[in-house]
């Protein structure tokens, strides 16, 4: 039990850590609470200046290995919008399919490999190899099939190759798509087994209502495109994002903080499920109910469950997309639409697995970038994570230091922050005063 806590970051050079927690509590009152992000800044906005219009999607893909597809498509969208390029339906469907592949890969990585060990009280997925190899095999298989979608359509799973401004350099074959369909269908029994395992996890109770922001469109559960909507009741076009979303530099983080209608907002799976639940596949909704995900859901720890529900949706919707593409006949001549360079500004907005992602480029007449602004989902969540922690910590002061630390770590990990931060999120040292 503690009335005073001083959790200090110990920036040991040998300690792996891109994020730290600073927590100072005196007489059960939080004096200081910060999620410190010392992750090396990479300056992509500067790297892009002067580059030819075909390069930004290649460059920004390298922001994140795990959501390289989301960055690629946000980037191509921004450039296509700047030039007024209109894609054909086949290209859009294939892009949506690729995006689903990344969701299956990225969400399963978080649900099974990163978050589940927390709920089971173990340090990684490795001990499960001994105790529950069947579950590990399922996790590996689900992730692999997500990767296969991206690989078969884009040439490889991490940092796609065929996806360029205007479409694709090369289309997949019909056989490739049929093979993917077969793999996707084979996942249903695994989904069933996963649900039975996920049901046994003890998800902590923690509720804090916040502003939920994501994309929405009339056609589908918006992952690839749409308007930006907020649970606080506003909708804007992506090009107008600056009218609502404010970025600011804070001293303790190389990742900027963002706000919209309140002091913080949340992006990611829970925002999408909260705002667009009715557009999930029927199958996904059934599992959501079975796993106790009731809308609206204000429990941050339920993000993992929302991500699992999205895996099911993406499996269903990928099969639907493949069927539509094949029913229409894969048209090998329609892999790319003409791209005519012109000066102007364009904004791309995609739902990356971790949440809304925005790229904003301005081009000159030669098709070179003159200005770029990128808004990254993990940055949008920082302020919300800090406010969640500020509510969580006073409520669990009766617990031991280790328990408090684990609860904080789990809460931060629940957001699925960019992976290199997610396992060693906290380098902390407790000093009881």
């Amino acid at each position: 039990m503690a009335t005073n806590l001083n959790i200090e970051v110990t920036p040991l050079p040998r300690v792996e850590g891109h994020g730290d927690l600073v927590l100072d509590v005196k007489n059960k009152k939080i004096e200081k609470l910060q999620m410190r992000i010392p992750e090396s800044p990479r300056f992509f906005e500067a790297m892009l200046v002067g580059r030819n219009y075909m390069e930004p999607s290649h460059i920004t893909s390298r922001i994140c290995g795990i959501c390289s597809v989301a960055h690629t498509f946000t980037s191509t969208q921004a450039t296509e919008n700047a030039f007024g390029v209109k894609l054909n339906k086949q290209i859009i469907k294939l892009r949506k399919l690729v995006n689903h592949g990344e969701y299956i890969q990225s969400n399963s990585l978080h649900v099974f490999f990163l978050a589940a060990p927390d709920f089971l009280g173990i340090g990684s997925v490795l001990p499960l190899l001994e105790t529950n190899p069947a579950v590990v095999n399922i996790a590996v298989k689900v992730k692999k099939i997500g990767n296969e979608i991206v690989r078969i359509i884009c040439g490889r799973a991490v940092h796609p190759l065929t996806t360029v401004v205007g479409g694709f350099t090369k289309l997949p074959t019909e056989e490739g798509l049929l093979k993917l369909r077969e793999m996707l269908v084979s996942l249903y029994p695994d989904v069933e087994t996963s649900v039975s395992v996920l049901k046994t996890l003890k998800i902590p109770d923690f509720e804090r209502e916040t502003e939920y922001i994501c994309l929405r469109n009339n056609e589908d559960y918006a992952l690839y495109d749409g308007d930006i909507v907020s649970s606080d009741g506003w909708t804007i076009k992506p090009i107008d994002y600056l009218s609502r979303i404010k970025e600011k530099v804070v001293k303790h983080s190389t990742g900027k903080h963002c706000t919209a209608s309140r002091d913080s907002y949340m992006v990611g799976a829970l925002s999408r499920v909260n705002n667009n639940y009715s557009q999930l596949s029927d199958n996904a909704k059934t599992y959501a109910q079975e796993l106790g995900l009731k809308i609206p859901c204000y429990n941050t720890y339920m993000i993992s469950i929302a991500q699992f529900v999205e895996i099911v949706h993406c499996v269903d919707d990928s099969i639907r997309l493949i069927d539509e593409i094949l029913a229409f006949g894969l048209d090998e001549d329609k892999f790319m639409v003409p791209v005519k360079v012109k000066a102007g500004r364009g904004v791309g907005a995609v739902e990356a697995p971790r949440g809304l992602l925005i790229h904003d480029y301005t081009y000159d007449e030669a098709g070179k970038v003159t200005k770029a602004n990128l808004i990254i989902p993990t940055n949008m969540n920082y302020a919300n994570i800090e406010l969640d922690l500020a509510q969580l910590v006073p409520a669990i002061m009766e617990k031991t230091e280790d328990e408090i630390r684990l609860a904080c770590e789990m809460l931060i990990r629940a957001y699925d922050p960019c992976i290199s931060c997610s396992t060693h999120m906290l380098n902390v040292e407790f000093v009881n005063k």
Partner: protein, 249 residues
């Protein structure tokens, strides 16, 4: 070397190389059984200061990166640079081209004083690198091949010929025929020409071969009405930190 203790570390980068290890999928369980993984940021909570082999992704872009890297260098007997950032500085070097101080100002404005960043460098500037798994990202099999060779006491084989060799072997039509610029003639192979094979230009993410025949590249370019300058812009995407050694005429 039997069941070596292996640490997987990330400096400044995208985490994609570590992900490629997790993406070994069917081979993953074999891989983690053949070695004793004691550090792996992306996958496990445990940490150790005892390991023989260090797989390092990411480039050096902060003083903190230098401290960590030098610490790893004191412990590891064998250092494998994984990926372009680690091997050549990779795409992160574009920041050096723009100017690190200017970049701080552009991104963080009047708060730039809060941000610590130095010119990006490959890890070989600070520690001795024994092997390179090149590329952005390296192929999964390459990472496994290097580690397997070490376990079996062999020297890993790393190609020193250009991507064109692999591309021709696959029977691909040259991208120049489609009017697409490609670094294949001078870029280091080992990827099985994966970009040109899907009609996407080679960007030399593995750096140049040791002794590139720049004159032949010039001849090829002139056939298609291009100059070396035309393609250098593409070459610096991954190699802004590298000085290409040009053969004199």
């Amino acid at each position: 070397m039997s069941k070596p203790k292996v640490g997987v570390f990330g400096l400044t980068g995208c985490g994609g190389c570590q992900l490629e290890i997790l993406n070994l999928e069917d081979q993953l369980i074999d891989f983690i059984s053949a070695v004793d993984i004691v550090n792996f940021t992306e996958a496990i909570s445990e940490q150790s200061d005892t390991y023989e082999v260090a797989l390092i992704e990411g480039s050096v872009s902060t003083t903190h990166d230098i401290e960590r890297l030098e610490h790893i260098g004191k412990i590891a007997k064998i250092i494998i640079a994984v990926g372009a950032c680690s091997g050549t500085g990779g795409l992160n070097c574009l920041k050096n081209l723009y100017g690190t101080e200017k970049a701080k100002e552009l991104v963080y404005g009047d708060k730039k004083g809060w941000i610590e960043a130095i010119d990006t460098k490959p890890i070989s500037e600070y520690v001795k690198v024994d092997y390179y798994a090149r590329g952005c990202p390296p192929t999964r099999s390459e990472i496994v091949d290097i580690v397997s060779a070490l376990i079996m006491g062999k020297v890993p084989e790393i190609p020193s010929y250009p991507v064109c060799v692999e591309c021709k072997r696959l029977g691909n039509t040259c991208l120049y025929e489609f009017g697409i610029k490609c670094m294949g003639p001078v870029a280091r192979a080992g990827c099985n020409a994966r970009c040109p094979s899907v009609k996407s230009s080679c960007v030399a993410c593995r750096g140049s071969i040791d002794d590139p025949n720049v004159n032949a590249q010039k001849d090829l370019l002139s056939q298609y009405g291009l100059t070396v300058e035309d393609i250098m812009e593409g070459f610096n995407l991954y190699n802004a930190c590298v000085k290409i050694v040009q053969k004199s005429k």
